[in-house]
Symmetry: C2
Subunit: 290 residues, 2 copies
């Protein structure tokens, strides 16, 4: 990625982060528990991977910085909603090195904060004025939410005894939709409605590839806690017909290579950052294998 574009994205990333944070708190009374719980979670942001993908796509598609920030902030709001809820449902005590919201404020506050961030994502997208594609932006966002919830629900009950195919399907539903949405929202806003399905497929492939990659890291670094489902471990245990070597690394490689191929077909190089991410992860896999 060109240094000039990279620095543009970095600047917009901070703006989108602030927008996502401030919009979530607006309408709440400062000092109330709901305000504090949301403010707490958003005060320790992550890397903003999905926001960066969304911003890069928006810039490639000539969307104005302000609109780009609103789309990115909306995706980030959904992502944070899913993190707070995941931590509660998995009873993970830590998030980004700090107590998770449910641990610090209690389960009920985590539930209410999730609802608010979900709702905020719609408000952010709707606040982009003067667009004809508002209806499709919202319906595509809703489809991503439904798919994520379906994946989260399956995730609650899945375990190391299920088939690799089932494990992949859960990863696709749970991790894919927000990567997809990062590309789909800019594409819709720029008038490329015909690319929504391809962007959906791209995000899904990347989501699965990234999930297996991440689970491999957990295994190799002894971060595997035992109570968490690990797709890489499942693949290594059950094997996978049709993939040479039958190893989790090969499956991750296969999905990331497919994501790269699919992403490169999207218009105006709008998924170039996702391509770069694929290349980086593929290189890391090959380095580890060597």
């Amino acid at each position: 990625m060109e240094p000039k574009i990279e620095s543009k994205i970095k600047k917009l990333l901070i703006e989108s982060q602030i927008l996502s944070h401030q919009s979530a708190l607006s309408g709440l009374s400062p000092g109330t528990r709901l305000y504090d719980a949301i403010d707490y979670h958003l005060s320790y942001p992550g890397s903003g991977a999905r926001m960066s993908l969304s911003l890069a796509a928006s810039l490639a598609l000539d969307i104005s910085p302000e609109r780009a920030a609103h789309l990115a902030a909306a995706v980030e709001s959904l992502h944070n909603a899913s993190l707070i809820q995941d931590d509660l449902q998995d009873r993970d005590a830590l998030r980004r090195g700090k107590p998770a919201v449910w641990k610090k404020f209690g389960p009920d506050l985590a539930i209410n904060a999730t609802d608010l961030l979900l709702s905020n994502a719609y408000a952010l997208v709707a606040s982009i004025g003067g667009v004809t594609s508002g209806q499709q932006l919202i319906s595509t966002m809703h489809q991503a939410v439904v798919k994520t919830l379906q994946g989260q629900t399956k995730d609650l009950s899945h375990n190391q005894s299920e088939s690799v195919t089932e494990g992949i399907a859960v990863a696709a539903d749970k991790s894919g939709p927000l990567f997809s949405l990062s590309l789909q929202l800019p594409l819709i806003l720029a008038g490329y409605e015909n690319c929504v399905d391809l962007a959906g497929e791209t995000g899904s492939l990347f989501g699965v590839g990234y999930q297996i990659f991440d689970d491999i890291q957990d295994l190799s670094k002894d971060r595997f806690a035992g109570n968490h489902f690990n797709l890489a471990q499942l693949v290594n245990e059950k094997g996978l017909s049709g993939i040479p070597g039958n190893r989790a690394e090969d499956l991750a490689h296969s999905y990331l290579a497919q994501a790269l191929k699919s992403a490169s077909k999207l218009p105006n190089g709008c998924a170039n950052l996702l391509c770069e991410n694929c290349v980086t992860l593929l290189a890391m896999l090959e380095k580890e294998a060597a």
Copy 2:
């Protein structure tokens, strides 16, 4: 209300109910736990009080039946989301005579079902095509969600030792916004953006009046479970300066009479059904007092 309009509303109520149910399930795979949990909850509908208010307002404002049904279904989707969540957070085992969702499917499914119904409300409103007010419909809906969540959060920690003023504020936040929204969405769609605040105030007054009325019924019928906050009991215990008699009945009367006055100022008689509800409740209060 004219019999002709009443029968129109009844017919649209069934259509809106079906629309709210079907739209919530669309996108989910039948036979999955999330599908089943949502299908279960929506298979035992309530009286549809908020939907009826919304439909009556839409018809008075010359909104097409199809659009009216979408607005009503959206409000109902939010209402059902709040019920599933309330039951979980209050650990109420029964809803509409059946086990509550969290009791039958577990807390995690109740959380995911709530998210889906919340998201579905936005999809329903956005699916109304060809409108210029889409942005305001969504932002007004978001404000109602934020206020409800703030009320729900305060409700989690409030108790019989707080002041009457605080108790009323919680009731206004928790019960008011969805009554308000039932009127606000049709008003916005019909171009009466300038009436949104008055509709908000009307719903809030009615929400408080209705809440006290309901709590009075709970007290008189020994339905008061002890673990639930009861606003009527608080008023009776603490008294209320400035209201003759200092009784919960007087406070309910005062709020319902104010709601009636406020509702009658809305254009085209769009809140006539809410006025009728106020009159009915006021008559019941007077009958009980006699």
